[in-house]
């Protein structure tokens, strides 16, 4: 069985956020929800400043804090390395969200029809993907984007609906600079494994022991003076 992972080449990333857009279109995420998020940092002090970018999908950790804390096993680790959310079982306690050090979980704060860009009640929006409602994996559990029930958690699925068909996740597919590389990390000849051999790699927040399956090459982790350029505020 392959064990999937992702390698992100920060040297190639230009912060265009096409991955965020691809993710949104593929997974039909609600307003203000981004499963894939690209940090845009400003670092240093004038005149010695620079701008850099860091995409942040779910890390699909091998020792995932969200899996540990879920009281009902709705968040679970699949054998192929994906960390999945069973949105039929989730009770909406949001413990996974506070446990995650990366801030990748998003909650459905209201009814699906109230948080879409286009009305849900007039039939499916043009980009709706029926694959999102199917059960996946040997467990046959509904873990892709899905119906977006009010009051359940969701996060990046590594596009399980595409991966099980042998395709790359949407963010990887949509990146114009091939900064994102997806594949079987157990296979030494897979594209991500080859990239990992070529360049020095790091993982985010390795010190907290989460064993992320997303590796970064080129550049380094954000430091104390990495300040986000874009202001964020609570909104839905």
């Amino acid at each position: 069985m392959p064990r999937y992972g992702m390698v992100i080449d920060l040297d190639r990333c230009t912060g265009c956020r096409a991955c965020m857009e691809s993710c949104k279109v593929e997974n039909n995420t609600p307003e203000a929800t981004f499963w894939m998020y690209v940090f845009r940092f400003e670092e240093g002090e004038y005149p010695d400043t620079r701008v850099r970018f860091m995409p942040r999908p779910c890390m699909h950790c091998d020792n995932a804090p969200c899996v540990k804390v879920c009281p009902v096993g709705a968040r679970y680790k699949r054998e192929d390395g994906l960390v999945a959310t069973d949105w039929e079982r989730c009770i909406g306690c949001r413990y996974c969200e506070v446990a995650c050090p990366y801030g990748v979980n998003t909650f459905n704060w209201t009814h699906p029809e109230e948080q879409y860009y286009l009305g849900w009640e007039d039939g499916a929006p043009p980009w709706a993907n029926p694959d999102l409602n199917e059960p996946y994996g040997d467990e046959r559990r509904r873990i892709a984007g899905g119906g977006r029930d009010e009051g359940v958690i969701e996060k990046c699925t590594f596009c399980v609906q595409r991966v099980e068909q042998g395709l790359d996740p949407a963010c990887v597919h949509g990146c114009p600079l091939k900064a994102l590389v997806f594949g079987d990390l157990d296979d030494p000849e897979s594209p991500p494994s080859r990239l990992l051999r070529k360049k020095e790699a790091f993982r985010l927040l390795e010190e907290v022991g989460t064993e992320p399956r997303v590796h970064y090459v080129g550049g380094g982790p954000p430091s104390e003076n990495s300040k986000q350029i874009d202001a964020v505020e609570a909104r839905v």
């Binding site: 009281p71 096993g73 009770i91 909406g92 306690c93 413990y95 927040l205 609570a234």
Partner: protein, 426 residues
């Protein structure tokens, strides 16, 4: 058996106009709170001020969770007093044992409501928490030990402890007679029965004491085990949860005992001795808790790990500073009162009751400060600091729960003697 009762003691079964007015006010507030929950159920949790951590810059746990912890904390009082009376034979606390147990049961019921308010899918929660229970989740302890175990043990204790009084009240003809007969369940107060009751309550008290520590600790573990949240991840979290639980529980018990003494006739046995004992217990718990607070604060500012420092700065001088320093003042002022009372025996009740109220306000604020800042200012990745402002729905829900709790206690006091009936304490 002691002399037959002529009429029900402590105003049980008699309601005045003023009492009814009070109940109407409390019921109105409680209903407003449930209306808030109705809004939350029908429109989604978007009616709260909660939002996602990280890119959305919010807090996903807020007032609901703070009050779950607060209500569970208040439940500390009943079990502790019951265990002290039975195991350590503290006679001074005997008159307040029953109201303390009632306080425990009521506050746990309120905690269950607050949990339901906090779940995005409450109905699924009721089913799935049993169906797919995972002991690895710190929540497991909250649901099994705290809610089920604690609540069940308290109810059994309340029931067993009340059988004798129920048997005595059942002698008084009236509308409540059937209820007392049911509660007494054939209790005849023979020597054999007294012994059996004493034995049962002894073993129950033995079983309850570890539960007391473990239950409040598991609630601390919900936060203390999360390495990804600066400000939460601390071995002190569990023990300081136990201590703050004690502070708020004993503080609330003081308030309730004072209200009972003021409003219920024939409660002279609630004398200065009882209140002195409670005041001193509160003083010791407060001292211990303040010590924990100082240790925790020193640890987080001394080494200056970046994210840890950011949370602490938000508390000490940032966004949360007004709440933080108010909470500190509401702990220090009562401590001063209590120390003064300790040295000047027989001081009035006013400062003691004020202390009880203040430490409870402080406990609510502290619970809020444990839950929220680590989400808005404790992200390990450099997200910008977030914010969380509760909406009126959350305020209404929590005010409603507190009113509902007061209502339950007041109704209980009219259904059953709030204190052991005279002559049945031997």
């Amino acid at each position: 058996m002691a002399a037959r009762l002529e009429r029900l003691p402590f105003g049980v079964g008699h309601t005045s106009g003023r009492w009814k007015l009070w109940m109407a006010v409390l019921a109105a507030i409680a209903i407003l709170g449930w209306y808030g929950w109705y809004l939350e159920l029908s429109r989604g949790m978007i009616v709260t001020g909660l939002r996602n951590i990280g890119p959305m810059g919010g807090a996903t746990w807020g007032m609901d969770v703070a009050f779950i912890v607060y209500f569970v904390g208040v439940s500390f009082a009943g079990i502790t007093v019951a265990a002290l009376v039975r195991l350590a034979d503290v006679k001074a606390l005997r008159p307040i044992a029953r109201m303390a147990e009632a306080l425990t049961v009521v506050s746990l019921v309120l905690a269950v409501f607050a949990i339901m308010y906090d779940l995005g899918q409450p109905l699924r929660g009721i089913v799935n928490l049993f169906r797919y229970a995972r002991p690895q989740s710190p929540f497991f302890g909250t649901f099994t030990l705290v809610i089920s175990g604690y609540l069940f043990a308290s109810l059994v204790y309340l029931y067993l402890g009340g059988r004798r009084d129920a048997a005595r009240c059942a002698e008084v003809p009236g509308r409540l007679q059937r209820f007392y007969q049911l509660w007494a369940a054939g209790y005849g107060d023979t020597r054999e029965e007294q012994e059996r009751r004493s034995r049962a309550s002894f073993w129950l008290a033995i079983a309850i004491v570890p539960l007391l520590v473990v239950a409040h600790s598991t609630l601390g573990f919900v936060f203390g085990l999360q390495v990804g949240r600066p400000g939460w991840y601390s071995a002190l979290q569990a023990p300081s949860f136990v201590l703050l639980a004690g502070v708020s529980g004993i503080g609330m018990l003081i308030v309730i005992a004072a209200v009972v003494r003021r409003t219920v006739a024939g409660t002279d046995r609630l004398d200065d001795g009882v209140f002195r004992w409670l005041g001193n217990a509160l003083m010791i718990l407060l001292l211990a808790y303040l010590y924990f607070m100082v240790v925790e604060l020193l640890t987080s500012i001394y080494t200056g790990a970046e994210r840890e420092r950011e949370v602490t700065e938000a508390l000490l001088s940032g966004r949360y500073a007004p709440i933080y320093w108010a909470a500190v003042a509401l702990l220090v002022i009562p401590l001063a009162f209590l120390i003064m009372r300790y040295f000047r025996r027989g001081a009035g009740l006013t400062t003691l009751v004020a202390s009880g109220v203040m430490v409870n306000l402080s406990a609510m604020a502290k619970r809020f400060l444990i839950v929220v800042p680590s989400q808005t200012h404790g992200t390990l990745l450099p997200y910008q600091p977030g914010s969380y402002t509760p909406t009126w729905v959350e305020w209404a829900e929590m005010a409603g729960l507190i009113a509902f709790g007061a209502l339950l206690l007041a109704v209980f006091a009219k259904l059953f003697p709030i204190m052991p009936v005279e002559g049945s304490e031997s």
